[in-house]
Each structure stands twice: as C-alpha cells, then as structure tokens.
C-alpha cells in the first residue's frame, strides 16, 4: 500500500491570539479527513493553541507588528507542527513545573507543560523562538479497538 502524500502547509500570521483560528480549523479538518482519532485531534488542537498564544504573548510580547510562522506536515502516522515567533527566544528549562508547590495556585504558566503532555516530541531551535512538536497517531492493538472512545 503506497504511503499517503504528506499534507504540508506554511502560513504567516499576525501577532494576535485570534489569528490562529483559521489555520487551526484547516489543520483539524485535515486531521479528521486523514482519520486521526478524536483524541489526537484534541491533543493537536490544544498544543497548537497554546504554542500560538505563547508565541504572541511571550515571544512577540503582543507586538502587532511582529509575525508568527506556522508550518505543519501531516502524514499517515504523525503530525508535525512548528511555530516560530520573532522574539529573542527563551530557555525551555527555565519554565517552572506548574504542578509543584505554590506554582499550582498560579494563574498562568501551564501552556508549555500542556504542550509537552499532549505531544510526543517537543523541541526548540537554538534561539528558543521556534517550537517544533510531533504527535504520532495513537496506534491501537486489535483487542483494544472495541474500547476505543476516540
């Protein structure tokens, strides 16, 4: 069986939280048509929204003159997304664990943690202003298919 041609897209968006809505809808629609599970689609949706918000707020400091580039590639077994801002970058290891101690009562700081929880691979470029995320299709064993709830 021949592999499906990867579904690629590259867009540049303005630094406004709502700007991601269109590309998000397009991406999720493609995932549905490629038979990704609802669980995978939810995970990707959450990760993309969080990554974009981080790029707008922390990367580009809400500067509307700056832009955010999103690249994604969908294949049979995975979805890869990159979100790049025009900021000076950050050190991912410097972000505290939002689950620990008093951090749990903080009103922010969970975005990156959720991305790491829902995506299988998360890494950054050297500058720290581009996040690369991968989610592999959740493969089910034949005995588990009856328990699948998407």
């Amino acid at each position: 069986m021949a592999s499906k041609t990867p579904n690629n897209c590259s867009v540049v968006l303005e630094s406004k939280p709502a700007a991601v809505a269109g590309v998000c809808e397009q991406l999720l629609s493609k995932l549905k048509s490629c038979n990704f599970s609802r669980k995978d689609i939810f995970a990707v949706h959450l990760a993309l929204e969080e990554a974009f918000i981080n790029a707008v707020r922390h990367g580009n400091k809400m500067d509307p003159s700056k832009q955010i580039k999103i690249d994604y590639s969908i294949s049979n077994d995975k979805i890869e997304i990159s979100v790049a801002d025009e900021g000076s970058g950050f050190k991912p290891n410097s972000v505290p664990d939002p689950r620990c101690g008093e951090n749990i009562y903080k009103t922010d700081g969970r975005g990156l943690f959720l991305i790491s929880s829902y995506m299988d691979v998360v890494d950054f470029n050297k500058a720290g202003n581009c996040i690369h995320m991968v989610r592999f299709v959740q493969k089910l064993k034949s005995t588990d298919k009856t328990k699948r709830n998407g």
Partner: protein
C-alpha cells in the same frame, strides 16, 4: 433626510450584532449555578468577558456558594484554568465554596495532568455538586 435615515438604519442593522451571553446564571437553594454557554473557551477577550461576568456575580453576594457547570464546554485553553483559580480565590475570600461539574473526559484530563484535581472539587453532575455543599454547610 430619507436617504440618511435609510443609510443610518442599514448601518445600525449591520453593526448591531447580538451579543451571545457567555454564561447563564441560576440561583438554587444553596448555590449559584453558573453555566458556561460557549463550546470553546479560547480567546483572551472571551476569557476576560467571562471573568467580568462571573466576578460580578460573586461580588453581588455576601456569602456565595458557586457551582460552575461545564456541560457545554468541549475545549478550553490553559488561560481558562487561570481564570478558574482567580474565581476560586475570590469565592473563598467571601467565605464561599466553589464546585465544578459536568466536565467532559477530555477536559477533565487537562485538570488531572496539571494536578488541578487536587485544588478543585469536581463532580459528575449538578446534584452531587449541590449535595457536597449541603454536606459541608
């Protein structure tokens, strides 16, 4: 004059978009029930609007028990978790209790992963949430 009236009327019809309420509020015997009406709670302005609406409800009561009903919510961002923490702090400042209910499994997973299940009381339905308030009164 007629032309101006028609133009103005058209303009007003064009810009007067009905604002969908983001919450519905119901006053029960032992709690104020706030139901989120939006399916997806994502955008900062929507979250800000929600905060204003819910804080307004809290401030109108001296002693408030609040139940947040998530029956319509299928997706939310981490910013909503921050909003919920602000709400809980406000409710507790006013010697009230906050309960959450009808959170769908995918959303519940977010609470679980972030360990917010340790700080929020979450119930499967309104009845059990309300009963928990009665039990602790």
């Amino acid at each position: 004059m007629y032309h101006f009236g028609v133009t103005l009327s058209f303009f007003m019809e064009f810009v007067m978009v009905p604002i969908k309420p983001r919450i519905s509020v119901e006053y029960a015997e032992n709690a104020t029930i706030v139901t989120f009406t939006d399916e997806k709670i994502l955008e900062e302005r929507d979250i800000q609007a929600l905060q204003e609406s819910i804080m307004s409800v809290i401030e109108q009561a001296d002693h408030l028990n609040m139940i947040l009903d998530f029956c319509n919510v299928s997706f939310l961002s981490s910013a909503v978790l921050g909003l919920l923490i602000r709400i809980s702090k406000k409710v507790y400042e006013r010697q009230g209790q906050l309960k959450l209910c009808k959170i769908n499994p995918k959303i519940y997973e977010i609470f679980k992963i972030t360990r917010l299940t340790n700080i929020f009381d979450i119930y499967p339905d309104l009845k059990s949430a309300a009963e928990s308030l009665s039990a602790s009164d």
